[in-house]
């Protein structure tokens, strides 16, 4: 018995999708959004600490990235360009609004969850204290300089390579690696005071 299989078409490249988007094709915008909304959101969430602000940053980042494609000009991947703009938008929003999670730390009862007990990586994996641990991680992230925070989040949460982080932040790969090392060192110092790290 013979099977007839339809040819498996490769997914269109970002460049093709951008051309289709420029021609007014809505589906191309949907595809680009579907491809990159998650890394964009994760990076924005880490930088802002809450979902509404992170979604605002994603929205603003997509709009700016697609309306200022002349600044992109194919020098890096669209993903890198988009995450550069999204992280910029998130940092700007953070400066304007403040990280709400830090404000919530000062709310009644917040200190109890942050300080009352030590958490282990196993507890994090179990999900039992996930919210508390996330608060601790947000707090630790806030201790980093803006450049360290950005490099760390783009690498750890958005999944950019060293090269891509370097393109997105306009520094050398060596600087990216250095920032990552010192960011992790600082995170470790902060977290080791409150967990069994």
């Amino acid at each position: 018995m013979a099977f007839v299989t339809a040819p498996c078409l490769p997914a269109p490249s970002d460049e093709v999708l951008l051309e289709r988007f420029a021609a007014g094709e809505r589906a191309a915008l949907e595809e680009l959004f579907g491809r990159y909304r998650q890394p964009a959101y994760r990076a924005a969430f880490r930088l802002l600490g809450n979902e509404p602000d992170a979604l605002d940053a994603v929205q603003e980042g997509f709009v700016k990235a697609l309306t200022h494609l002349s600044g992109f000009q194919g020098r890096s991947s669209f993903k890198t360009w988009l995450l550069r703009v999204v992280s910029n938008a998130a940092l700007d929003l953070g400066r304007q609004r403040g990280r709400r999670v830090l404000l919530s730390l000062s709310a009644p009862g917040a200190d109890e969850t942050a300080d009352a007990r030590l958490l282990t990586p196993d507890e994090a994996a179990s999900g039992l204290e996930r919210a508390d641990l996330r608060t601790l991680l947000d707090e630790a992230l806030a201790t980093l300089s803006e450049s360290q925070r950005r490099a760390f989040v783009l690498h750890a949460d958005a999944g950019l390579s060293y090269r891509e982080v370097a393109d997105a932040t306009g520094v050398s790969i060596g600087t990216v690696m250095s920032r990552l090392f010192y960011a992790r060192q600082k995170l470790r110092e902060h977290l080791s005071q409150r967990t069994t790290l």
Partner: protein, 190 residues
Amino acid sequence: MNREEFYPDTGPSPEQFAAFLDGELEAGARVRVETWLANHPVDAEEIEGQRRVLRLWQANIPPEPAPAAWATVFDRIEAKLRPVSHRPHALRRTLWLGAGLAAAVLTAVLLTRQFQPGHATTRPPVIASKSGSLINTEAPDQEPILLASQDDVSVVSVESYWQDDGRVPSIGEGDVSMIVAAPLAADREP
């Protein structure tokens, strides 16, 4: 062979440690870092601590927004990226521009008809400068001559003034300086 000769004094650089943690080092460089760490417990503790931080980080990824939240964000993005010609304010601007152009064409047609010999109108309208003095439509390149006052004529339309070369400036090129007027009473000569 003493492997510490690769890092004579200070050991691997922060960049090398970062690449080691991320699995980005080539095999030879990775072995050199591993050997260094085996002989330097303080560094080894630091790198192991950083490895635990990364595990902790990856175990606590931000919660995904609900599908409805994503749909809202996409709709907003799409609305903001909609082509300019489809936007309401752009449509209004286009309508105003169209109305302006139509008015200009109509004025030009009316003026042309007025200047045609044998036109049914026996009294050509007068044209007044902005300052209030009036000129004869049959000789617009001459110095303005007072032909009528506002009591004698009614304003038909406002137009741009002729340039020295006889060219009529386009709308928006300069200040409006001409008023096309018609006599109020047919039995009064200007």
